[in-house]
């Protein structure tokens, strides 16, 4: 299975009632890459996936390329895409084996070859022994795996997944997320998947496209997105961030609880806000810091501890710290923030 490159060239989508689901968007997905489309519901991510699949056509100016061929006007059944649907869309009138083999049967492949390929895919997706089962007799996790097996069995050029894990319980979802990440990587098919869950996007994808209101705000690898988001929306969507508001004077940022020295050239901050991740704030004795706050609560989380501070700025500040240091409620603490952890962001 070699990778196919996907290119979207200024694809937009306006529905007949006038709603703009997707603003003109151009993206490239490299051969073999796994791209996540991440965003809240209604951000246009599913529309984009359906345009790639061929279930929706882009507005007139848009073009979709698989490698060098323009597939814009080719219907889904001729695009050779494998797709996993949010509802899985498994065929209730067929057994597990028949579901997985359906795409091969359509291709008029011989019965023995279908059997071999189905066996192979079932082993890959850990479905051994379930071949004769009825779809209704499967658990949620098994259905998800059958849907994936059915999509990859005909060896598609690209694989598309629409919220592949959202129909599962939270516990199962965590487990299957890791399995899916390993499986997709081993397939090395160009993959695009849609999710609203940042943990899922981060765990599975090579690159994540964060979307909002029909626009792609940023496409980057997960670490870059987390540490260097382009704007406040991305920063908040890919992980919790504290918003600190104050007043910038030369390079000194003054807040209710003290001040922070910002590096040179950062003065272009709009709205006088900076963002800091929860785990980037260290708590030190108040005497050692120019910026102070008061402990409002501490919550033991097992592998970490969450401290909520008041009196730092107008908003409460959340800090994730080591689990075993004791903090009294009302105690005054100092905040230590490294300059490189300060996110200066355009507002959304």
């Amino acid at each position: 299975m070699s990778g196919t490159q996907i290119q979207l060239k200024s694809c937009s989508k306006t529905f007949p009632d006038g709603t703009r689901a997707l603003s003109p968007t151009s993206i490239n997905v490299s051969p073999g890459e796994i791209l996540a489309l991440l965003g809240p519901s209604g951000c246009g991510k599913t529309t984009m996936l359906r345009i790639i699949a061929g279930l929706e056509s882009p507005d007139e100016t848009g073009k979709v390329f698989f490698d060098d061929s323009d597939v814009t006007s080719i219907p889904i059944e001729k695009r050779s895409v494998g797709m996993v649907f949010q509802s899985y869309a498994l065929f209730p009138n067929m057994s597990v084996r028949e579901n997985i083999g359906y795409g091969l049967k359509i291709k008029k492949i011989s019965t023995e070859k279908i059997r071999d390929r189905v066996d192979e895919v079932m082993a890959l997706c850990q479905l051994e022994g379930l071949g004769e089962r009825n779809i209704k007799a499967l658990s949620g996790g098994q259905r998800q795996r059958v849907a994936l097996a059915r999509a990859v069995a005909p060896q598609p050029k690209i694989l598309l997944l629409d919220e592949p894990l959202s129909a599962l319980d939270a516990g199962l979802r965590d487990q299957l997320r890791d399995e899916l990440a390993i499986l997709l990587r081993s397939l090395s098919i160009t993959t695009v998947f849609v999710t609203h869950d940042q943990a899922e996007a981060m765990a599975i994808a090579d690159r994540v496209a964060v979307m909002q209101k029909g626009h792609v705000l940023q496409i980057d690898d997960p670490r870059k997105l987390y540490t260097a988001p382009d704007n406040a929306f991305v920063a908040r969507f890919v992980g919790a961030a504290n918003e600190l508001s104050g007043r910038l004077n030369n390079n000194l940022f003054s807040l209710q609880g003290g001040s922070l020295q910002l590096p040179e050239g950062i003065s272009a901050v709009s709205d006088d806000k900076i963002y800091v991740r929860q785990e980037a704030i260290k708590l030190i004795p108040p005497s050692e810091s120019e910026l102070k706050g008061k402990v409002l609560s501490s919550t033991f989380l097992g592998n970490s501890q969450k401290i909520v501070l008041s009196d730092v700025c107008e908003r409460l500040v959340n800090v994730i710290t080591d689990p075993f240091s004791k903090y009294e409620i009302g105690q005054e603490v100092g905040l230590l923030i490294q300059v490189e952890d300060i996110l200066v962001l355009r507002d959304d």
């Binding site: 889904i76 059944e77 050779s80 869309a89 359906y102 059915r150």
Partner: protein, 274 residues
């Protein structure tokens, strides 16, 4: 569970007794005429009562007089089913794929024959085709009326199950695997809609066999059907024969109704399990 029930049995409240009495009374109201009628069909002389003895000679006589009407009704019902199937299933499939608003308007049009009295519908057919005497005098004329009248039931039944199984999603799944629209229709749509198709079929057969209004206007003395023959026997035969005819009608229609009931509960369950 059992214990609870036992407790309830012991404290039978007056309101329960009252409800039971009303229910039994209503049942009697509905059932006694039917039982009387059936008994009349077996009684040698209804005016003398059961004391005149039981007989099946009336039933035999009905068979001799009206066998061709009964046969015609069965053939008509099967032919009607055939046409509603080959028109109704593709029509429902097409409606399901259309934009909802457009599909709703079309569905209203298809259902229009239901809101027009059968007599008016028959009159329209007579006005339109009455001069084509070959057609007018054959059973095909009645068949046309039956198909017109039963088609909406088939379409609605199949359309309902297409919605219940979320056919659109299933079809998207099939098309992503390379299936053409014909393959999707025969591999996915029809097999998964079978309970709805069966329910629709039973409705069509039951309605076709029992249809009177339309048929009465459209029939000729040579193309009588079961219900038309029934009316005929009520009007012109002695009471015992009419009753025996009713019995024959019951025997044919009741199993169909029971099967229909059973199927529609099953179809509902399919809808709910989604």
């Amino acid at each position: 569970m059992l214990l609870q029930r036992g407790n309830k049995m012991r404290n039978i409240s007056p309101s329960f007794t009252f409800q039971l009495a009303v229910t039994l009374l209503a049942c009697a109201f509905l059932l006694v005429p039917a039982v009387m009628s059936i008994m009349a069909g077996f009684t040698a002389n209804y005016f003398k009562g059961i004391s005149s003895g039981l007989t099946i000679k009336w039933i035999i006589e009905v068979w001799e007089l009206y066998a061709d009407s009964i046969g015609r009704s069965i053939i008509l019902a099967i032919a009607c089913l055939f046409f509603t199937l080959i028109i109704g299933i593709p029509a429902a499939y097409a409606l399901n794929q259309m934009k909802p608003r457009f599909a709703r308007i079309l569905e209203e049009f298809v259902s229009l024959p239901l809101s027009i009295p059968g007599l008016a519908l028959a009159l329209a057919l007579l006005q339109l085709y009455g001069t084509m005497s070959g057609f007018r005098l054959s059973s095909w004329f009645i068949l046309t009326g039956h198909v017109l009248y039963t088609l909406p039931f088939m379409i609605r039944s199949v359309l309902a199950i297409f919605t219940a199984i979320d056919l659109k999603a299933l079809e998207e799944g099939a098309s992503s695997l390379g299936a053409s629209s014909w393959q999707r229709f025969k591999d996915i749509a029809v097999p998964n809609a079978l309970p709805g198709i069966l329910a629709g079929s039973l409705t069509v057969v039951t309605l076709s066999i029992g249809e009177f209004n339309l048929t009465w206007m459209l029939h000729t003395p040579l193309t009588k059907t079961l219900p038309v023959g029934l009316a005929d026997s009520y009007a012109s035969m002695r009471l015992e024969i009419a009753s025996a005819y009713t019995l024959v009608f019951f025997i044919m229609i009741v199993p169909l109704l029971v099967a229909l009931q059973w199927l529609s509960t099953r179809t509902q369950k399919i809808g709910e399990s989604r």
